[in-house]
Structure formats: C-alpha cells, structure tokens
Amino acid sequence: MVLTSEAWPAVQRQFFSWFHFKESFPAVAEGFWLDIRMFLVAEVLILSFALVLAMIRSLRGPAFFPLRAIVVTYIDLIRGIPILLLILLLGFGVPALQLQGVPTSRLFWGVAALVISYSAYTAEVYRAGIESVHESQRMSARSIGLTQVQALRFVIVPQAIRNVIPALLNGFVSLQKDVALVFVLGVREGLREADIYNARTFNYTSYVVAAVLFLLISVPVARFTDWYTERDRRRRQAMSA
C-alpha cells in the first residue's frame, strides 16, 4: 500500500535515500559511539548511586530519619522535573556560573543530569526489590548480630537485585535512548550529527540512520529482558514445585 502510493517516491527520496544513507552514516555512527559511551558511564553510575539511595531509604528507626528524609525529598523532587529541563538547567546553567574547579563541559553536565534523574527512578526499583524480600530474612540477619547496613548488604540486597533485574533491564532500554536528549546542549552525539546533516541537505535519511543505530542496540536488550524474565519465572516455578 505505502510502496505503491503516489507519494512514495518523495518519501523514499526524503527518508530512505541510499545515497544520503551512505553520506551521513560515518558522522552519525561516530556520534552514536559517543551515545554508547555516555550510556555505559551513566548506567554504571546510576546503578551504584541508586542502590545507595535505596539502601538509605530502607534503613529503619528514628536514628536514620534525617538521612531517609533527605533521600525521599531528593527522589520526589527529581522525579517531578522533566528530564529535558534538568539537562538544560545543568548543561547550560552550571557552566554559565564559571565556578572555579567545576567542570564546564556540557557533555559532563548532560550525563550528570541523566545520572541524577535516572537514579531517582532506579532507586525506587531497588526499593521495590528490597521490600519484596521476606521480613524473616531481615529478622534472621539481625538476629545473628548483623547491623542494618550489613543485613542489607549481605542478605537483603543480593536477593532484592535478583527480583528486579527485569525492571532494571527495562531502565537500560529507556536510558539507551534518552542519552540522545543531550543533543539539546549541542553535544555532537548521534542525533545531533543526524540533525546537522539534515540542516545541510534538507534530507531526513540521516535521522533514519540514527534510528537504525538506536534500534540495533535497544531491540536486542528488550529481547534479552523478555528471555531473562521468562527463564527466571520458570526457575521459580521449578523451585516451588
């Protein structure tokens, strides 16, 4: 249907031109390599930082109230701000302050914004996992003399992470696309390169190149998530049988 319509030649020329595909590919691919590196660095930082946040939020007792309150406030505030706004705020705002010893790279602050925002969401994923571990495990851990932090670290968190791996993988897929948002800062990642090519040629094939590159990563991760979730479900069934 689409291929036989009258508009197809125009669509093909604007979006699926082999010439423009080849022309724009090297620059977009190089930009995309920066996306991948941003993703990897951000993901490692997010997974660690979010775990610390979730552990603090899971500490009990009045002694930890101030710490818990700080974390809850952080999570509430950050989750309430559009991620694009945060990227603009930090990416343009902080370098403009020209503070001594503070990085002025937009790339740095773009990634920082992603880490700050995603950590708030990911902390909640971890927290759900921590709460899914049976209360007896916490009591057993405390009863052998472990402190709250030790109980979390050696007993609760290892089980919690297993329970939320599918949700964490889901976050991977999401972040892998959202790194492209730093293009608004002028960082020359994949989408920015595609945009530059389009501005020069008025041809949209470069965007398709970027889309293909993103899909090449995100579809396999999505398939892997499903496969892992299914395998985990079967294992649990086998265990309870």
Partner: protein, 249 residues
C-alpha cells in the same frame, strides 16, 4: 539455688492500638526449658522477638544474666549474639550455601577468620548429621534439614539462650521429628531454651515449665505434668480440650 538466665518483667507491647503483650512476667533459669503454648496470635512469637530485641517493647524490662538488655544504652547487636533465635520459616539465606549461611555472622560480626569459622561450622554440622550438606544451597534441602541448619547457624555463636519460634509449624508431619530430636539433644546438653510451640506432646516431654499465653497475657504457668493434667484456668482447659479434640495431644 537456680540462677535466672532470662528475666522478663511486666513487658507490654502494642502494635498501633492492638495490645499484643500485656504485663508479661516470666523467668527462665539456667539450663531450663520453658515452653510457650497458646493459640496463634496470643503473643508467643512477639514475646520471643522482643527478647531478641527485634521488636522494641513499650513497657517493662528484660534482663539477660541480670543485665537489663532493654536499656537504651545497650547495643542490641551485641545482645543478639548471646542468644540464638530460629523462626518458623525463611530462616536461611537462599543465595548462600549452608556453610556460608553459618559462617556469615561469625565472620562479619566477630571478625572470625574464614578457616576458623568454617571449622566451627563443619564441626557443628557433623554433630547434627548435616556435614554432607555444607556446600548445598537451602532450596536443595528438605524443610526439616533447613530448620536443623538454622539451629546450627544459631549455635555457631555458642549462645547462652536459644529462642525457638514454632520451628516445626511450617513442616510436613514426617519432618517434624528430626527437628524436635535436635531440640531434645540441646536440652540434654544443658542449653537454656524458650520455645513457642504447637507440639503439645513435645512440650510435655521436654519442658521444665509450660506457660499458657492468652491474648497477650501469661494466664497460667506450671510444670508440664500439672498444666497438661490439671490446668487451673478455665481458658487453659478449654484450649487443651480443643487440642485433644484435634488429636494433637
């Protein structure tokens, strides 16, 4: 003259508005076994968790060897190492082998060396016929074996008191005996124990004192011969009557 190992004085506890323990007094002497009986929700579990400082009490005090462990200045982690507690189920850490389950506490809390902690653990496992399970994960063990490992884990500290919270309640009937036999062995070795249980026959055999809890109060306390044969309180008689009807005594 017997020494009081554990002294519970006027302990009370409420969760929100619901009173779970009301003015509970109880003494467990050295080498003594005290069984707590009573219907579910009578406060047996909560009492044991209060003693292990897993649940803070609202009023009263608890003393271990004459030292008030409910005093705010006491470090609960240190007190807990002097007591072993085993729950109904989910005691073992499923992501660790049996040996790691047992050595985790000694290694992380006492800073015992890996080799030394393992030696102690293996000696205990051997003593309870579980040494060949050392490298297994808990889900590969039967429920009875899991509970025996949980008891071994508690013993790895050489606790002064063992608190057992309905440790056979979640087990298939044919697995109950192996766990109860371990507890009998502990009694023979002179372990001081406070045991919440629904196994009346076992309580009759093993207990020096039996306490009947009802709605958060110790309604009656007596040696098993007296409490089971000739209960003083109508509520105790009624409870035991139902147990007999259910064929559990």
């Amino acid at each position: 003259m017997t020494a009081a190992k554990l002294e519970i004085s006027s302990v009370s506890k409420a969760f929100d508005e619901k009173v779970v323990l009301e003015d509970v007094d109880l003494t467990v002497n050295l080498h003594e076994v005290v069984c707590l009986i009573g219907s579910s929700g009578s406060g047996k579990s909560t009492l044991l968790k209060c003693i292990n400082l897993l649940v803070p009490i609202d009023g009263g005090s608890i003393a271990l060897d004459g030292e008030a462990i409910t005093d705010p200045s006491v470090n609960p982690n240190q007190v807990r190492q002097r007591m072993g507690i085993v729950f109904q189920a989910f005691n073992l850490f499923p992501h660790m082998t049996v040996i790691d389950n047992i050595t985790l506490g000694p290694r992380k809390v006492h800073g015992t060396g890996h080799a030394e902690a393992e030696d102690t653990a293996r000696r205990l496992l051997d003593q309870f016929g579980l040494v060949e399970k050392a490298e297994e994960y808990p889900d590969r063990l039967s429920g009875g074996q899991q509970q025996r490992v949980a008891i071994v884990r508690a013993l790895a500290y050489e606790p002064e008191v063992m608190l057992l919270d309905e440790v056979t309640s979640a087990l298939d009937p044919e697995l109950i005996a192996e766990v109860l036999n371990v507890i009998r062995d502990l009694k023979t070795s002179g372990m001081t124990m406070l045991i919440a249980t629904h196994e009346m026959g076992f309580a009759r055999d093993v207990a020096d004192q039996v306490c009947f809890l009802d709605a958060g109060r110790i309604l009656e306390q007596a040696p098993p011969g007296q409490l089971f044969k000739n209960p003083r309180e109508p509520r105790t008689r009624q409870f035991l009557q139902r147990i007999v009807e259910a064929g559990r005594l």
